[in-house]
């Protein structure tokens, strides 16, 4: 018989099969799904992030941990929904128009899913109006914009302007990232946050959710 505590270890070690087995057992014995998330899963992903920050974990470890987390979440989500428990937040993510690069965007999306967020991935080369449509009617959404190129990063400002024009800027938090992006650029275009890696992106998303 597994202990729920093993879920923490399974996620930290990126063991998706173990995470699935422990979660199944826990749910079968009427464990509280909300508690599984708050006591074991989120702390595990927090620890993954810390290890990444101090160069103990690298991108492969981030991804297998996020995958293990996602596996467990898929089992837990229906029960959470039945009990009316909400996800950590809703994030619409995409690479801005004119940019086909998805490396950073995919890493951030995986980590956010692993962090308990509902992630709507619009893909690459996303026009501003598509970002706007994805957050309209979804108060409190986070919009995560990615760009790899200096030529396309300016499109982030266009997206923010489109949010303003559509009247949804005040109800949407905007976070940005990508190789050429800096905090200074984020401040200049009026984004709510900037992250330079997938790990800190999750912490930033949590911070933005708590500030809404």
């Amino acid at each position: 018989m597994s202990e729920p505590r093993e879920l923490y270890d399974a996620i930290l070690g990126g063991n998706a099969k173990k995470a699935e087995a422990v979660t199944r057992e826990a749910l079968a014995t009427d464990a509280d799904p909300g508690e599984l998330i708050s006591r074991y899963m989120i702390p595990a992903m927090d620890e993954v992030g810390k290890r990444f920050e101090c160069n103990e974990y690298f991108v492969p470890e981030l991804l297998i941990a996020a995958r293990a987390m996602k596996t467990a979440l898929e089992l837990i989500t229906p029960q959470l929904a039945a009990k009316g428990v909400k996800r950590a937040g809703r994030v619409v993510i995409g690479t801005v128009q004119g940019d086909l690069h998805d490396i950073g965007k995919n890493l951030v999306a995986s980590m956010l899913e692993g962090g308990g967020f509902e992630v709507i991935d619009l893909g690459v080369d996303v026009p501003p109006e598509k970002f706007v449509a994805a957050v309209q009617g979804q108060q409190g959404s986070i919009l995560a914009l990615s760009a790899l190129l200096t030529t396309t990063m300016t499109m982030m400002k266009t997206v923010i302007e489109a949010l303003v024009k559509a009247g949804v800027r005040d109800t949407t938090k905007v976070m940005i990232g990508g190789a050429p992006i800096t905090q200074q650029f984020a401040d200049e275009i009026g984004a709510d946050g900037y992250s330079d890696n997938a790990s800190t992106a999750v912490a930033l998303a949590r911070k933005l959710v708590s500030s809404t």
Binding site: F58, I64, I103, V124
Partner: protein, 322 residues
């Protein structure tokens, strides 16, 4: 000049013919003219003939390259390989038939005829950079964590397959501009780099060196200081020192242990392209401080953004000449 300066020109060449990177990457006349004019302007140490260097081998293997908007840099969006086993079974492409390799070789030869004094090279990708496009970053990183031995095998296959390209480059009377941009931390850990990447990296550099008759530069992206000993162990004679790494420690280590190895200490391409001279000067001063007059160091850039004003290069040169 306080230190030799050499920019890295790929997509930036498109600016010199006023066409998009996509157009220039597919048209031999535009590619020739773009690189010709760029060289006349910059006289950089190496003419590396390409626009989208990361796509060449993957496209030759059959991956589809696309550009969404006119000024976008062409990229591969759909991974070609659904498993590592497919990668292990990959046969070498034919440089004379597949993708744009033959076109690139012809343009490079033409540039060599135009500028006999120039060091004209064709980009040759490292195994991880090729695998990155063939498998996609997420799958490749999962492979590194879950099936490292099989991934190492696939990388070795890709390394061996590069022999046809290196031979074609040598037979065309050209040289190799080798790059391996994605394998260093934070993508792979130093341990993963050593165990998964190094055997294939060492092999492909051996192959390239044999083909051209001398050691070839090893231009690696990312935070390379933690894997510097591994990279130096390949016998390369030229390294790039990126802004993503501890440049001071990198230069100090190479100069102490391998003083014959040349180092291109890069400025941040974002700074090189900016419109703030003071910011550029600060970046130059930083590199000058790190290199401290060492004769095996040159100042460079990462791949210069398309929109970089050529006047910034003049500004850098003038500042270095003062």
């Amino acid at each position: 000049m306080k230190i030799p300066f050499t920019p890295v020109i790929y997509e930036h060449a498109a600016q010199f013919v006023g066409r998009t990177p996509w157009e220039v990457s597919r048209d031999p006349e535009l590619m020739f003219e773009g690189h010709r004019r760029a060289y006349l302007e910059y006289h950089q140490q190496v003419i590396a003939v390409a626009i989208d260097i990361y796509n060449l081998e993957a496209e030759a293997y059959g991956a589809k390259v696309a550009a969404s908007t006119p000024d976008a840099i062409p990229a591969i969006h759909q991974p070609l390989l659904s498993s590592l086993e497919e990668g292990i079974a990959l046969k070498p492409f034919d440089p004379q038939r597949d993708g744009r390799i033959a076109m690139m070789l012809a343009v490079a030869q033409r540039l060599k005829r135009e500028f006999p004094e120039a060091d004209v090279r064709l980009p040759v990708g490292g195994p991880f950079s090729i695998a990155f496009n063939l498998r996609g970053i997420n799958d490749l990183c999962l492979d590194a964590a879950l099936r490292p031995e099989v991934l190492a095998k696939m990388l070795m296959r890709l390394a061996e397959n590069q022999a046809v390209l290196c031979r074609a480059v040598a037979q065309a009377g050209l040289d190799v501009a080798f790059f391996e941009s994605a394998a260093a931390p934070p993508i792979l850990s130093p341990k993963q780099f050593h165990e998964i990447e190094m055997p294939a990296l060492r092999r492909v550099l051996e192959i390239a060196s044999e083909c051209v008759g001398h050691p070839v530069p090893c231009i690696s992206g990312g935070n390379t200081y933690p894997v510097l000993d591994d990279i130096l162990s390949t016998g390369t004679n030229y390294l790039a020192c990126n802004v993503e790494t501890n440049q001071a420690a990198f230069v100090e280590r190479v100069c102490r242990t391998h003083p014959h190895v040349k180092i291109r200490v890069n400025l941040d391409p974002g700074v090189v392209a900016c419109h703030d001279p003071q910011r550029i000067y600060r970046a130059i001063d930083h590199v000058l401080e790190i290199t401290a007059g060492r004769t095996n160091c040159v100042m460079g850039t990462g791949a210069m953004p398309l929109e970089t004003p050529p006047s910034n290069m003049r500004l850098i040169r003038e500042y270095l000449a003062d």
